[in-house]
Subunit: 224 residues, 2 copies
């Protein structure tokens, strides 16, 4: 193992492909994690992998994530590793050849043995971090969890020690290959994700407008 | 195990949570898979789960997906199950209480033992299906894979037999709870994903315009 700027480089986080920009820099990891709030959590359940979409939030070196299935699998096999993957799809990379087609993306994979958060104070803190990332401003606006609700929530904590980041954002790389002579169009098609206009709950009494932190989301990109 | 409209219901695909709409209907699975092209593939590597973002395409009862890491793990442990998860994030569900916050989403999980596609004819067919889903029109427009490129591509096939679908698309469900009296705004904030304007490769000679199937993507939602 070698280390570079805070993240441990192991066999599985070593980056193999050259056409992508791979990184073990903590700043790149923070950038990818900070640009979203939905991850795909891989856990072992009865010996087979299960991939669960769930929300997350980062506080310093700790990734907090929701997960009842994961919590259950963790209780059954406490020392089992998980993999948390966060992917931002940025576009299609359309090359001259089918073979060189790919996606523009930023992704991070975090590995480790998660900890089930049981201390009520840390749980409240972790949920605050998670809510702040998934729904900014709502922790201060909405009713906070009761003791009973807190007990009914499964929160996991994963330390940001073993991780890798991959970023692919260039044009197709067959522009200097013999295929360039084919005269075909090649380039990228960006993909963007944006918030739309807030839609009130149909049973909301008239006269209650969305607060500023919600109204301000419209037209913005999550995490931007 | 029981079966409903084509998909096998097992302990892990049985749907537990009531506030979401769960389904084992094949039509719902097809709808979720048909609305995207990026999945998260969970495989076992050295006994731990790894979650890899990759492209996919569906042909009848077969899900084809790219995956060199998965192919490697499959060679090492041929009878190991994988989990393929496809998630479409449709919005934030902002409730009166933090506890009732959630996401609007559509997701599918497909389980099974994948098959490494080695027959060149099926490989070509599978890649055509995959390309047709990820980059419609490009199979007929771009240069198709050579024999050598085909050999360098790892393609997996997974049968659509064991799967579950979850859809969450309503307003927050605390509109009839005591929290409704708090007078807080509650509702949803939609999240949409759209293609932007095609961006030519900087080394593309002038005068080559994007073909109609690429130009037509702008403003559209992937899979819509």
């Amino acid at each position: 193992m070698s280390s570079e700027d805070g993240l441990t480089v192991t066999e599985r986080t070593r980056l193999r492909r050259l056409r992508e920009y791979g990184s073990h820099r903590r700043a790149d990891l923070d950038a990818v994690l900070g640009a979203g709030f939905l991850c795909h959590l891989g856990v072992l359940v009865d010996g087979s992998p299960r991939v669960i979409p769930t929300g997350y939030g980062v506080d310093g070196d700790t990734l907090y994530l929701h997960g009842s299935v994961a919590a259950r699998s963790l209780r059954e096999a406490p020392q089992t590793e998980v993999c948390v993957t966060v992917t931002h799809l940025d576009g299609l990379v359309l090359a001259r050849s089918v073979f060189e087609h790919s996606f523009g993306y930023r992704s991070a994979m975090v590995y480790g043995i998660p900890r089930l958060v049981t201390d009520p104070e840390e749980k409240l803190h972790g949920l605050r971090v998670l809510t702040g990332n998934c729904a900014p401003g709502q922790w201060d606006y909405a009713r906070r969890p009761s003791r009973k609700e807190l007990a009914a929530t499964s929160l996991l904590a994963l330390e940001l020690t073993e991780a890798s980041v991959k970023i692919s954002d260039g044009p197709p790389d067959d522009g200097d290959s013999p295929d360039a002579a084919l005269g075909l169009w090649a380039g990228t098609v960006p993909i963007t994700t944006v918030y739309g206009r807030p839609l009130a709950d149909p049973v909301l009494p008239p006269g209650i407008e969305p607060p500023e932190h919600i109204a301000a989301l419209e037209g913005r990109t999550p995490g931007a």
